[in-house]
Amino acid sequence: MQALYAQLLVGLINGSFYALLSLGLAVIFGMLNIINFAHGALYMMGAFTAYFLLNLTGIGYWWALIIAPIVVGIFGMILERTMLQWLAGLDHLYGLLLTFGIALIVQGVFQNYFGSSGLPYAIPDYPQIGDWRGLQGGINLGFMFLPIYRGWVVIFSLVVCLATWFLIEKTQLGAYLRAATENPTLVRAFGINVPRMITLTYGLGVGLAALAGVLSAPINQVRPLMGADLIIVVFAVVVIGGMGSIMGSIITGFALGVIEGLTKYFYPEASNTVVFVLMVLVLLVKPTGLTGRAA
């Protein structure tokens, strides 16, 4: 049983990253109609930003959680202003190719300087309160040992995902976003600066990827190709969940992480392929994805 719980936890952790990344992809796709293949590279940049902050300036994990998404988000907004905005109205293929090219360039530059091996990033050992050493160590739950950092990643990711959902589905700003997804021309004719909103939306989606990168740094190490490996699975998650829905991408992200974890326990040989098998099945039965709308 211990092993089952451990794999469930691993599944929830992976599910957290899937959810944060596919949520960002859904937000970007909804507003910009771009399949953002640079997402994995931007996730990696989030982790590297945390690494640089720590090793060059001494700024630690907690600040990195805020600073890295902002820095990478700004980088993303520059990409959108200088390149992506010119693709509006063109076929999806153009956005896909451009962002794929951006991903290759960014990953190439990081590989040039840092090779392919991982750089260590420690779990924060502060604030220290009593016996607590930041997020280090673990708690014995009786039925399993829970590393605190892993529990933190799952809960924090869930909170961020739900906050993003709330922002988009329940606030006035979110109403602008949803309306502009449907009919940007009319929303602009009501007096809203839609191009600026598109730029900020891309920044938000990219910021979520960078945040996932920071969260992942202490678990998976900081590697130039960390995003390239992950993003393939995330795109399968997105295909399964459907591109259109915010809550759908969150739920699918966590659910597929858990399914992957369970597969690792019950039939480990299939654990690397189970997501893709599900993707094929969903594509056969419901090509728009479980929660998606027709493109």
């Binding site: 109403a175 309306a179 997804t181 009319l186 602009r188 009501f190 007096g191 809203i192």
Partner: protein, 247 residues
């Protein structure tokens, strides 16, 4: 003293011209749709653009709103040139647009649709005043926008631009496809708005409806304004009008 009065009257008449469009040309991609549109709208007027399908009426409204990509000529709103302005800036200057297809957002409920257009200046209708005009909307606030009937969607499309404080409204075929009783209600609404000082530029195919609310008419054909007359001259122009509109 009479000189001063004359001068005052002159400035008054130019400043009273809220919208003046001259030699407006517009293109959809490669196709040249408007070939020199000229007309004006004075403060407090209801002006109707009449014409057959495809004459360029909707394109004229969209050009004023700044949502036609390529346009030239001159559009002056409150004496400010807006031919090069972006549509969000034009909206913030106080022009509100109700499109022909109504543009109710499916992913927003009625309340969100109603509150979507930002307030651009003070003096818009309050929600209570809007519900007084359109009592149906109050009961449907939590429905999905596109679950409303056609008439309710049209009311919602008009209602949401009354909140913004814009005093110049452009309504594109507000009666299209609606039942007579609802057309009547929209007619009452337009008269009411006019009495409250709104200036309205209307596009209509339903000329019988237009004649109940309009002060002046312009006839649009092949992307040009070919004629114009006041409501008082309507009966004298009936024959011409039938030829223009082919009715």
């Amino acid at each position: 003293m009479p000189d001063v009065k004359m001068a005052e009257a002159a400035t008054k008449s130019t400043s009273a011209e809220v919208l003046s469009v001259s030699d407006l040309q517009a293109w959809y991609g490669e196709s040249h749709i408007l070939h020199g549109i000229n007309f004006n709208v004075k403060a407090g007027e209801v002006v109707t653009l009449l014409g057959r399908n495809g004459a360029g009426k909707t394109t004229t409204l969209k050009s004023v709103m700044g949502i036609i990509g390529k346009r030239s000529g001159s559009i002056r709103f409150n004496n400010e040139e807006i031919i090069r302005a972006s549509s969000d800036r034009i909206a913030r200057m106080g022009i509100a647009f109700c499109p022909e297809e109504r543009g109710i957002f499916a992913s927003l409920d009625v309340r969100e649709n109603l509150l979507l257009p930002p307030v651009v200046r003070s003096g818009g209708l309050s929600l209570d005043q809007i519900f007084e005009l359109f009592p149906n909307l109050k009961e449907r606030l939590n429905s999905q926008g596109t679950k409303l009937s056609g008439g309710e969607q049209q009311m919602l499309a008009i209602a949401r631009i009354l909140r913004t404080g814009a005093r110049f409204l452009m309504l594109d075929e507000p009666t299209e496809g609606l039942a007579p009783v609802i057309i009547q209600q929209i007619g009452h609404t337009i008269s009411r708005l006019k009495s409250e000082g709104f200036t309205i530029l209307l596009v209509e195919q339903n000329f019988r409806f237009a004649s109940t609310v309009a002060d002046r008419y312009y006839i649009v054909e092949h992307g040009k304004v070919i004629d114009g007359f006041a409501n008082a001259e309507l009966s004298a122009n009936m024959d011409k009008l039938h030829t223009y509109l082919g009715v």
